[in-house]
Symmetry: C2
Subunit: 322 residues, 2 copies
């Protein structure tokens, strides 16, 4: 049974009961808008597209994985401001030949990610349409409960730089999947995907079903973090964003960071935060460097020039992991 | 020059200065999230996908038209709750071969629609990616400033039913464009599009560059509207939604409504509202019916069974206006 067979109304009727509810809902799905409470009068908002091709491959990812990751990555952007995610709206487009079961699987992944990573955060509305590929457009809202937003620009010299969450596993997982399960013409071998899950569960899960440390973002804000972001394009590239916005340098201790994948691999969705020397750093974080005078990113005191990260407009090719 | 040539960062640097600013911005684009103030602690949120194919054709619509309509239709959903639009986030995906000029044109349409229809509302964030077709995912936020959200479920027997904005023009405009400018194989004749604009400016503009009466939504809320929605799928279909949600019937006066296109044509983005008999109906609205006992939609006292509206999953075909 496809979504083209049963149409928009019947598809929505199947999907909505599977989605997580928000504790901040005044008015949920079914009207022109949802209405959400924002207790302290400030709402954080972020939006991300997740598109079949540049962002995922069906076969490497199940519908459940796609829903999970779309939810988790948006929650991470809210957490990286020091906010608590409260609600999500989801635009979903897919070819009419897509099965209803596949969309239900996406909804279940969404549900389980929100429930596991940000209890109380739920889907309050959405839109459903058709497109040549599967694509999700997720917008997340968050609340601050009295603290100030933690931006990229507040790092000061002497701050300790700390990270919560794993570094490099997502990149290693992607490499494993492409090495073993994607042919040169882009076709996916489902048996090899299953084998990759079995042999490297941590790395494959970090890539396909990431678990960003959502609560750590809020903990960092409460502990006085001066700057923070979600590492989506690789530690170095994202640290450079803090360095540039704050007009400082960031110097990493390579032994604390780990290896080269940890420095440059993307899609970690770990929280990178800067803390004053006298702050009590929350237990989810480990110190991996410090804020120094100067500009750019250094590793053990030496300027790191590597690029890291990728550009979806310039770099995407269907037959590689770039 | 294409977006694939210059990449994400350079494309965003070209687009962002063209976008409208929001008066509610605490923190604008460039961090993990934007932060927006919500003075009375309640935010309305709506999201819509606009996808090349089911929602627009390049050639019929310019980039400017696409940006304008994506903005205007989301503003209308906010207005239909009795709220004031304050901010928008925009996900945009397009093939790498898309010109930067086309995306700039979309941004200008977005700017001009927000400025004309909801001054003070602006774009606070977004995402840019690649897809086989052009698609926009817009999420709009609104504020209530102390009034209650106007839902679909509050209509009571005896209420007057009124509409602000045009009915039927958008459908007539679509018919004119497809009759004259779209060949059976789906190709668009640009000269015929220009001629349609010249001969039927009201109808073509209603379809390609709609001007929903955004301020009328807020006026209706302040005047005590009991139920309201944005007419997106046709007057009858959307009125039936109010009737069902409110457990009443709605009886239209055909002479006041106009003709059959006004009853069933979609994409009007007019505001349909119900008012108590003793309310002072705002001047943007004209009375076209009343709330009656029973269920469903009637025209001059006779139950109207016609469907109206369309289903993007079940009905879309690339060579017709459905």
């Amino acid at each position: 049974m496809t979504i083209g067979d049963i149409g928009e109304g019947a598809t929505l009727a199947r999907i909505f009961p599977l989605l997580p509810a928000s504790r901040r809902t005044l008015l949920g799905p079914g009207d022109d808008c949802a209405v959400v409470t924002v207790p302290d009068g400030r709402v954080s908002v972020t939006t991300d597209l997740m598109i079949e091709g540049p962002d995922f491959r069906i076969g490497l990812s199940t519908g459940y994985d796609i829903g999970w990751k779309a939810c988790a990555t948006n929650l991470a952007d809210i957490a990286a401001m020091g906010a608590t995610p409260t609600s999500l709206v989801v635009g979903l487009a897919a070819p009419p030949s897509t099965t209803v079961a596949f969309l239900e699987d996406i909804a279940r992944g969404f549900h389980d990610a929100a429930t596991a990573l940000a209890p109380g955060c739920g889907v309050v509305g959405g839109d459903l349409s058709t497109a040549p590929v599967v694509m999700l457009a997720v917008t997340a809202l968050g609340e601050f409960d009295g603290t100030e937003p933690v931006t990229r620009s507040g790092a000061t010299i002497g701050n300790r730089v700390a990270v919560a969450g794993s570094l490099g596993d997502a990149k290693r997982g992607l490499d494993i999947l492409f090495d073993r399960a994607v042919a040169p013409d882009g076709t996916v071998d489902p048996v090899a995907v299953a084998e990759a899950w079995a042999s490297h569960p941590t790395e494959v899960a970090a890539q396909l079903r990431p678990e960003p440390p959502i609560a750590a973002g809020r903990s960092a804000a409460l502990a006085g973090a001066t700057a923070m972001l979600d590492i989506s394009d690789g530690l170095v590239l994202d640290a450079r964003r803090i360095a540039t916005a704050s007009n400082v340098a960031i110097d990493f201790d390579l032994a604390a960071v780990g290896d080269i994948d940890s420095l440059t691999g993307g899609e970690d969705h770990a929280m990178l935060a800067c803390f004053p020397v006298n702050a009590t750093i929350p237990p989810e974080f480990r110190v991996i460097g410090r804020v120094a005078p100067g500009s750019g990113v250094m590793v053990d005191g030496v300027l790191f020039e590597g690029r890291g990260g990728w550009d979806p407009l310039a770099d995407y090719s269907s037959a590689s992991n770039q």
